[in-house]
Symmetry: C2
Subunit: 175 residues, 2 copies
Amino acid sequence: MRANEGTSRTEDITNHEAVPANTNSASSPFDETVQFGILEQLVGFHLRLADDRTFENFARGLGSDRLRPGCFTMLTLIVNNPGITQITLSRASGRDKSSVTKDLRYMEDAGLIRRVRLNEDRRSYASFVTQAGAELSERLTCEVKAHSMRLTSIIGEDRKALLLTILKDLINNLP
Amino acid sequence: MRANEGTSRTEDITNHEAVPANTNSASSPFDETVQFGILEQLVGFHLRLADDRTFENFARGLGSDRLRPGCFTMLTLIVNNPGITQITLSRASGRDKSSVTKDLRYMEDAGLIRRVRLNEDRRSYASFVTQAGAELSERLTCEVKAHSMRLTSIIGEDRKALLLTILKDLINNLP
DNA sequence: TATTGTTATACTCTATAACTATA
DNA sequence: TATAGTTATAGAGTATAACAATA
């Protein structure tokens, strides 16, 4: 069956008001002869695009050290807070505890962390990095810094600091 | 079976180096006595958090006008570019054409848009909003503006403009 | 009763690849 | 051969709810 034909979904058109199809193959959404309307001024829209782009750019630099995205955050939090519990990890990363369980299980199976039960509260488990985890964290942190410098070279030192300040304000003060 | 017990995954601990579990129930990740290490300076980390927070805050304001997230972008692009083709929508929104198909199908079934085949290139379909789509777009745009003003009241007019400029720089210039 | 953590499950968003039809 | 669009499918990432163990 031909695409869409014979259904009630579409009609035919001769040629009225239609915007010409864009044949531009550039990678930025803005390299288009397209009107973005209100999206143009929308912080959320740009946050999403910038997040996509930044993450993709970062991930490309990782090479063989690929680690599931959320796991880098977890690993870093564990390195910086030895013995952190899962509920604290959950709050610090802004994810549900069931999501944390999954990531920690993955990292434990990969030999990057170990978990030990707390005697003072036997419901809780403390997480620590292993040697391998510490080494991976080290390498990833280097890559993060390199990536960070690429960002700085694009938007400038001052504006990067400003960006961080503004984002933190948003995160902390949105109701 | 008791959580984690009897497996080789975890060990027990008496009490060494462990960070105390945080009992803070505030919603910001930063309301924690947690060290964030390099994450503290990471643009990507903050973009993700700000994106989550901003979207959640926006979605809460929608009430009965809930529309799948990606669809608002599509709808706005169609309103502002009557007759836009799917491949152009795909590029402008930064999503694969197969993702666009799904969203457009959804909006067509919901009576928000209609698609018409182009006679000058019968592979292409032009998208237009219906009356219902135009009205929904109108209401959503109002909510977007209200949301935008909430953001402005948090970070200030000048810094919001600055934020948009910096994000656009990132989006356009990241390799 | 409340909390930590696990599990099962399901939902959203997205891309890849194979396909049809058109160019 | 190349492009527009569809479909099937799979894989992240995430949350909800029910549960066991513990407080």
